[in-house]
């Protein structure tokens, strides 16, 4: 039987990186799933996010994204959104000023029907900062173009060395 859930590429950061990019993503799958765990670096400790940009041929940096998220903090639940943004705020992380860390925060991003040129692209995301914040997010890229490029970035200074980001393809019958 054909492999349905197939690894495409994985990156374990050897050094801090402002962004992580995948290019020339093949179109032979139905959905893409990115799974990983990350920590971020900043000039002070605090909350941060991982963001998503996508594109076809190159990553779209225009104001063509929007998102809605649900967040639980352990004591309260709330929801917020961003409209006409330049990225999708996808998952929470935490920042440190240290050069290394042993704590990385998990996330999963589902790029639904990523190569279907009849639909705008919807991304379902989940992420958690243990004992602090739990996020569930839906994001939109207002384009019917197939996704061939993905960039993951942060509103902190960088994604820390040791962070892992793995991309898989799910192939339907």
């Amino acid at each position: 039987m054909a492999v349905t859930y197939e690894p495409i590429a994985s990156q374990t950061l050897g050094t801090d990186a402002a962004t992580v990019t995948w290019s020339s993503i093949p179109s032979g799958f139905t959905d893409l799933i990115m799974i990983g765990a990350a920590h971020t670096k900043f000039t002070s400790a605090g909350n941060a996010i991982l963001w998503i940009r996508v594109g076809n041929g190159s990553v779209d940096t225009g104001s063509n994204y929007s998102y809605t998220y649900l967040v639980g903090t352990g004591s309260t639940a709330s929801s917020s959104r961003g409209s006409s943004t330049t990225y999708i705020e996808a998952a929470p992380t935490y920042t440190t000023t240290a050069s290394t860390t042993s704590t990385f925060y998990p996330f999963a991003f589902h790029f639904m029907s990523y190569s279907n040129t009849n639909v705008n692209k919807t991304i379902l995301a989940s992420g958690d900062v243990s004992a602090a914040r739990l996020y569930r997010t839906v994001g939109l890229w207002r384009s019917t173009s197939a996704i061939t490029n993905i960039t993951i970035g942060t509103d902190a200074t960088s994604i820390m060395a040791g962070s892992v980001l793995s991309l898989y393809g799910v192939r339907a019958a």
Binding site: M1, A2, V3, T4, Y5, E6, P7, T30, D31, I33, I35, A37, S66, Y67, T68, Y69, L70, V71, G72, A77, S78, S79, S80, R81, S83, S84, P106, F107, A108, H110, M112, S113, N116, N118, V119, N120, T122, I123, L124, S126, R136, T137, V138, G139, L140, R142, T144, S166, Y168, V170, R171, A172, A173
Partner: protein
């Protein structure tokens, strides 16, 4: 070979190790130009541990229409459902007993921006058991650049029958729009 410690693919919850080949495509439905009143998966083999349905959805009318799943043609009041929702301004939760189907997809509708489809990942756990009631959970939502929602849903089907048929349809009578896609996968036990 082991391919992933899979945080999140089961509706963003829990963790699962999937050996290569443990996640298999069973069937896919893509709605054609005339639309469709339902999406059905029939003769589902009982050889997996869990099922997952992934896809994008849009209905011909409405705003945030709900799609439910009915199992084995059971349309009686044997389902109970819960939802945790973020709508961009607040979080809310609701529940309802004695339903005729398992609320599973919060869909885009014809009253919302064209070409935007909601996404969904539905897990149906231990679907072939003949000693347990069946539990469904899903992560589903759509964003429309100024409006939108993200939902976590769970539902119970109060039957110990193995699930061999799944019917997805609007809780009312609205059709699925063209390009709606639902793909059924089976997840094997180690």
């Amino acid at each position: 070979m082991p391919i992933v410690g899979q945080f999140g693919s089961l509706a963003g919850l829990g963790s699962l190790i999937l050996p290569g080949g443990a996640f298999e495509s069973i069937a896919t439905v893509t709605v054609g130009s005339g639309g469709a009143s339902s999406i059905e998966f029939t003769s589902i083999p009982g050889t997996y541990q869990h099922l997952q349905i992934r896809g994008v959805s849009r209905l011909a009318a409405g705003t945030l229409p709900t799609v439910w799943a009915q199992f084995n043609d059971d349309t009686a009041s044997n389902y109970a459902c819960h939802t945790l929702r973020g709508d961009g301004s607040a979080a809310s939760a609701d529940g309802s007993a004695s339903q005729s189907g398992a609320f599973s997809i919060s869909s885009a509708g014809g009253g919302q921006t064209a070409s935007v489809f909601s996404g969904f990942v539905i897990d149906i756990l231990d679907y072939a058991s003949t000693s347990k009631y069946k539990t469904l959970r899903s992560m589903t939502g759509g964003d429309f650049n100024g409006t939108g929602w993200i939902d976590l849903r769970s539902a119970l089907w109060m039957s110990t029958s193995a699930i061999t048929k799944i019917k997805l349809s609007h809780t009312g009578s609205t059709n699925f729009s063209q390009h709606t896609t639902a793909a059924l996968y089976g997840i094997k036990a180690p």
